[in-house]
């Protein structure tokens, strides 16, 4: 049944461009899709290891800048008279490099903070995002600072037998984002169901016990951070080549908050959660724009967030899954009780 829902969802998303012609809505769907990929990567950390990255947008932004600079080329002076001159490479190389560099940054942040974890990880990630934003803002020779990197080329993919295809239109970018989102979903699903996933889950539930059966905390968490950051980097790269202009505002804290809200409302620790939460908070602005001033929209988001968390405290997907699960055996009828006990403790 599960794979049935998955295939149905993919078919539904794939059919959208067939009946939706409004370019404004298409644009909203593409950017929402990119943010959903980012939210899925955040969910890997927040939902499956319990570590909150409040600077997740840094990995996204690094991916965007790396990919843009790889495909635009640059010429920067370094101390002691060195210069780095880079001639433009194809955007698809930028996409790969974005994943690698963002992943490396995830490794560094993980290495720095996972020895102590919890609040330290939150603080390190916030600071990291701010430092990266300041670098992007002030290293004008490389990043153009507030003037932004412009004219970023669209992604070109080589199709066997068909020659090169440059993805310029919204339709093409829509399918590109959809494809990357599906791959990301499958990747994360495989990961959390592997023994790495079980190790992460074990660490989140009872770290002392997990360690006692031989699970290496630092290694497991760092690995999760690397993969999460790499995926965020991929999303950033898609963003850069779709929007085709990026400035340091991409690192704004509000972007991280948006991803966190998507994950929490959809349901952290559920694979489909970020997709559902992402669709709601990605498309809400589209429907609120005609009827509300921008300031009022923010208040409306807050209202929606509160209502969702009040009615479905564990997030939309896990709460609904629990509600619609048929009580077949004693095991399954017991489950909701245990869950609500835990929630009561968490919210107390």
């Amino acid at each position: 049944m599960r794979s049935g829902i998955a295939i149905l969802t993919i078919v539904a998303f794939a059919s959208v461009p067939l009946w939706l012609r409004d370019p404004y809505l298409m644009n909203a769907l593409i950017t929402t899709g990119i943010f959903i990929i980012g939210a899925m990567s955040l969910n890997l950390l927040l939902g499956f290891t319990g570590q909150l990255s409040l600077g997740h947008i840094a990995f996204f932004g690094i991916g965007a800048y790396v990919s843009a600079l790889t495909s635009l080329g640059f010429d920067v002076g370094l101390p002691f008279g060195f210069r780095i001159v880079h001639v433009p490479w194809p955007p698809i190389v930028g996409f790969v490099l974005a994943i690698v560099v963002a992943g490396l940054c995830g490794y560094l942040v993980g290495l720095l903070s996972f020895r102590v974890r919890g609040a330290y990880f939150v603080i390190v990630t916030i600071s990291f995002a701010e430092v990266v934003r300041l670098v992007a803002l002030n290293w004008v020779e490389l990043t153009q600072g507030p003037l932004a990197l412009t004219n970023i080329p669209s992604i070109t993919i080589g199709l066997p037998g068909l020659g090169d295809l440059t993805l310029r239109t919204k339709l093409q970018n829509y399918y590109l984002v959809l494809a990357v989102a599906v791959v990301t979903y499958v990747l994360i699903s495989r990961l959390v169901h592997s023994h790495f996933g079980r190790a992460m889950r074990g660490l989140m539930e009872n770290e002392t016990l997990a360690v006692s059966v031989g699970i290496d905390v630092t290694r497991t968490l760092t690995l999760a951070a690397v993969i999460s950051a790499g995926i965020a980097g991929a999303a950033g790269s898609l963003y850069a080549h779709y929007i085709r202009i990026i400035d340091p505002e991409v690192f704004a804290f509000i972007n991280t908050v948006t991803m966190v809200i998507m994950v929490i409302t959809g349901g952290k620790g559920s694979l489909a959660g970020p997709v559902v939460g992402g669709m709601i908070f990605g498309l809400l602005p589209v429907f609120l724009r005609p009827i509300m001033a921008p300031e009022a929209q923010w208040i409306a988001y807050g209202g929606v967030l509160i209502v969702i968390l009040f009615v479905l405290p564990r997030g939309i997907v896990p709460s609904l899954a629990l509600r619609f699960r048929k009580p077949k055996s004693r095991a399954e009828t017991l489950a909701p009780v245990a869950f609500s006990e835990r929630d009561a403790k968490e919210h107390a």
Partner: protein, 258 residues
Amino acid sequence: MTAIALKVEKVAVHFGGLVALSDMNFTVGEGEIVSLIGPNGAGKTTAFNVVTGFLDPTHGAVSYRGTALNGLKPHQIADLGLIRTFQRTSVFPNDTVYDNLLVGLHRRGRVSLLEAILGLPRARSSHRRLRERASELVEWVGLERRAHDLAGSLSYGEQRLVGVALALAAEPSMLLLDEPVSGMNASETHTFVQLVRNIRDRGVTILLVEHDMPMVMSVSDRIVVLNYGRIIAEGTPNVIRNDPAVIEAYLGQGATRA
């Protein structure tokens, strides 16, 4: 004399000015069941934490099968086959009993990340073996009927059994049990003693910390008695039962004269 598995030499643990353990020496032979007993606060759990790497000793050394354990992290010590259980109930409460054991089988299930993600045959067959092993372990501790219940919803005694099954899942060559029968009723304790003997018969060395004296006396090959952080007696259950120092520690000085 069998080969020595665990060797604790001159171990001392100080918490600031408090001496939790002073100059502790004992060994556990391969395949032996040794119990560590003593009144509350005697340092038994501290000794456990030192051996399993959760606590660094102030002085002294611990070695297992010739490997020095000083400075190793708990998961590295677990990798040597030295696995512990915990005094408080310790399970992954929001997973089923079965899934708990799958987490416990971590040491067995290592395949490369890429193989796991791509779902390569080796990863899949490894996963199948893990599921079989988890089912075996569930049966082994007699929790088949509870296998698909959340571990957190089980009774106290059942959770302790899950804890032991989890430790067994990690394939110990030596198992350290910290007060395993506390909170169990008489019949559960009796079943548990059988279980401990079965585990030993499979070649696993056992170090036990326990307050339940009848249980300790019936199951142990040798007993080490701690009081105020030092060893006051060591020997077979019969020797310990009649040792005046032990009786004094447990019952007070008046009892020895009476």
